[in-house]
């Protein structure tokens, strides 16, 4: 009897799920490194959200597009270093553990490692801890839209990761970043991130 190989059927990703993946990709990119001139130029040329879109996210997107047209690569890089890196203590942490209430018994990084492993994912930047927001948003990107050799995760799995690791920390981080005096371009990134996380939170509650 001839053996038969299983057939893998990949359903095309719905537009709104692809868009979620794109938002996570953009946030992961902007928190992993400052935008270069090419990204700033394409952001500056991006169209507004469609008529009737939710106001908070539409305004945040419009402001980010405007800011991308006003800042240059050098200024954005200096701002990123001043906020998240550079020499000396950063004014605010870019790690979820600082906002999610890390404990001596089980730090947020340990929980993230465990949940990434359960999702078949592994952190690939050993010089950066797993609770770096870029890594968390990148994990959500893969879970929502697929990538890294896997298909999108079921919504329940996405929701569990989001509610365990993103929701407890990202809103506090975005709120801090939005009021940080040294933030300018990144204040707009924070506003978009905040609006998007609220949207995600509400959409998961419908599942």
């Amino acid at each position: 009897m001839a053996s038969t190989a299983p057939i893998r059927v990949e359903r095309p990703l719905a537009a709104e799920e692809a868009a979620r993946g794109d938002y996570y990709a953009l946030l992961a990119h902007l928190f992993s490194r400052p935008p270069d001139s090419a990204l700033l130029a394409s952001l500056a040329a991006a169209p507004a959200l469609p008529e009737g879109a939710r106001v908070d996210i539409a305004v945040a997107w419009r402001d980010l597009v405007a800011a991308a047209g006003a800042v240059d690569e050098l200024a954005a890089g200096d701002e990123y270093d001043a906020l998240f890196g550079g020499v000396g203590k950063s004014p605010l942490s870019i790690y979820a553990g600082a906002y999610a209430g890390a404990t001596a018994v089980e730090h947020a990084r340990v929980r993230i490692q465990r949940d990434l492993a359960a999702a078949g994912l592994a952190h690939q930047a050993p010089t950066e801890p797993e609770d770096h927001f870029a890594a968390l948003f990148d994990a959500m990107r893969v879970l929502a839209a697929g990538g890294a050799g896997r298909v999108p995760a079921p919504l329940g799995e996405q929701r569990r990761f989001f509610e365990s690791h993103v929701k407890p920390a990202a809103p506090k981080f975005f709120a801090r970043l939005a009021t940080e005096p040294r933030a300018n371009f990144y204040r707009r990134v924070a506003a978009l991130g905040q609006a998007f996380v609220v949207l995600e939170s509400e959409s998961f509650s419908l599942d």
Binding site: R54, E106, D138, G149, L206
Partner: protein, 65 residues
């Protein structure tokens, strides 16, 4: 019931502008399916779906009470 919940969620996201927002974000040069945006997450290679690096093992030790 589950189908209705999925439809409600889809309607909610589309009404929020996410269907069209995807195109807007794509124009920005970052696309979800293109690969890791930050290079930080990849499918695990181990048979159990987990790759424990030396860094991870060291870190686990620091968390033991």
């Amino acid at each position: 019931m589950k189908t209705k919940r999925i439809q409600d969620r889809r309607k909610f996201l589309l009404a929020a502008g996410l269907g069209g927002a995807g195109a807007a974000v794509l124009v920005a040069g970052v696309k979800a399916k293109d690969g890791p945006a930050s290079g930080s997450v990849e499918a695990a290679a181990g048979p159990d779906g987990y790759r424990a690096t030396e860094h991870i093992l060291k870190y686990y030790k620091t968390t033991q009470v």
